[in-house]
Symmetry: C2
Subunit: 360 residues, 2 copies
Amino acid sequence: MNVIPPKDINLVPFVSVDHMMKLVLKLGVGTVLNGIAKAIEDDFRRWELFDKTPRVASHSKEGVIELMPTSDGEVYGFKYVNGHPKNMKEGLQTVTAFGLLADVNSGYPVMLSEMTILTALRTAATSAVAAKYLAPKGSKCMAMIGNGAQSEFQALAFKALLGIDELRLYDVDPVATEKCMQNLEGFGFKMTACTSAEDAVEGAQIITTVTADKQYATILTDNMVGSGVHINAIGGDCPGKTELHKDILLRSDIFVEYPPQTRIEGEIQQLPEDYPVKELWQVMTGAIEGRKAPEQVTLFDSVGFAIEDFSALRYIHGKLKETGMYENLDMIADPDEPRDLFGMLLRASVANPDLPSPAL
Amino acid sequence: MNVIPPKDINLVPFVSVDHMMKLVLKLGVGTVLNGIAKAIEDDFRRWELFDKTPRVASHSKEGVIELMPTSDGEVYGFKYVNGHPKNMKEGLQTVTAFGLLADVNSGYPVMLSEMTILTALRTAATSAVAAKYLAPKGSKCMAMIGNGAQSEFQALAFKALLGIDELRLYDVDPVATEKCMQNLEGFGFKMTACTSAEDAVEGAQIITTVTADKQYATILTDNMVGSGVHINAIGGDCPGKTELHKDILLRSDIFVEYPPQTRIEGEIQQLPEDYPVKELWQVMTGAIEGRKAPEQVTLFDSVGFAIEDFSALRYIHGKLKETGMYENLDMIADPDEPRDLFGMLLRASVANPDLPSPAL
């Protein structure tokens, strides 16, 4: 990656929500999903280079606020993200996020970005990248259980990367399904609103579970999962929140992002701590096999990992010049003489004669 | 604290470097130092309420990038801060920082702020608060060894909170001392440029060491520290970086912010892990005594702790309305219907007919 510090080093490019939407529209949502997916794959292939720590979480009664840092030795990135399931009832987002990239050599930030939309894009791109290696060859039909904020992004990523063009949709709230179908109109899917999760999985080669309840739930039971299916389990992503019946896990080959984190947050929190799982990055480097046989049930137990955010930020950073979709923030105090921070304040006083002169 | 989410909840008030300087000038640097000091004292008195974790550090050959989160259960705060000693030679700041406050109940950010200047203010305010409890009564004269970016802030905080009006200044680079004296002209100090550290400590009741070299240094040796002195040791703040000879530590009463962090980063990294130290917050609550006797040598082994940043951010947040020194950032994606994040993107497309329509 080429980190170009801005000419005026005190200025940090900032990608607002509005700029992020325009950047995605300008480049095209498929192009962006493919671009982020490629960045994720590139970074997963050099997985061992990265600083990896489980996220730093601050839990409260109502939710969690997390910081997810990582670094490849040249670039440092972190994401701030909250998870507050009760927010939706108050008209707020369950998850909001923003992130930052910085130059490891100087410690100076090089980009600040909204990440609510970007997280939705990277989560979908990660799922689709995983499915490229794990889903049955020639998959065309995906069941999607849970039709909330992440659902359209998942559908589009699976179309862009795998050519999925049939969706079987189910949500406990039919309004969510209706919204999802309306939003995806014109993207070339054959869509069916289903009456139950059982109905939705009928004939699907890929099953995506992406529900939001913060509880142990059983969105899928063992009898619903036929042989040869790939399960893309997105919704189980914190302690106490799972979507799959344990028996499904026991007959699947389970692929995860970062085992120490997934064992705490993923579906596999239901299994013993030493239960064997496979690491997705090793599939990408070719160190281990992805799907081996047509009858194999594969499971991507996705919880989201810092490197995916890093990849997504890196992709966006690379598109700033081309799209112009950013503004500069005056975020870094940069006196001409580094030791003269206080002098900068004094000079600001001279430049602003309407403000009181500094005195004690 | 009163966290008032902005009316437009997608907008996050941002305090730029320029706004921070103007805010400080508008309110007066003494008022701001006193205000931050009060916020720190208030928060230290309710120390046990806070989430406390050592900072999350990402080390590289050239420096470190750290995240410092904390929460009092109602408000969450974190600071991003780097430390790159080699930066100064390249005309960059050794330390730059920014920070954020968020509402624990919703997880939504309520303020983003530059913190390079604010960190300088809070570090100085913390030192002065500590000295209020630890320095000899009626102290008038402070030696300051190291006259870099933090020095003027230290001097002003000690004047604002303790009435220090005589400074004895020394730096290995006389240019730094000259800069410091020029900047402090007009603030009512009697200042002496000294020829050595030995010279500087002559007659001072308080000795502040605030040098920047990333190494084990011996800025003060035992024979330089007379009885009854208070040492305010700022510069030793990461593993491998100390300023005081071990013998000084052995005859001082040592006060620290958060022992698990100070034992790694502070002067006391030179001492056994179980060497007794006192916690500053307990002095403030009255649980333990500060200075007990005139001949006692007291040492504040300062490394900087997340709660001080939290206090400083909280103070600034409380001054936004009064000063108007902020701008709103479009940082949080906030669709009218929380589950309709993708629909927001579609509506942005309708609103921007010059951009391509979303399609795959």
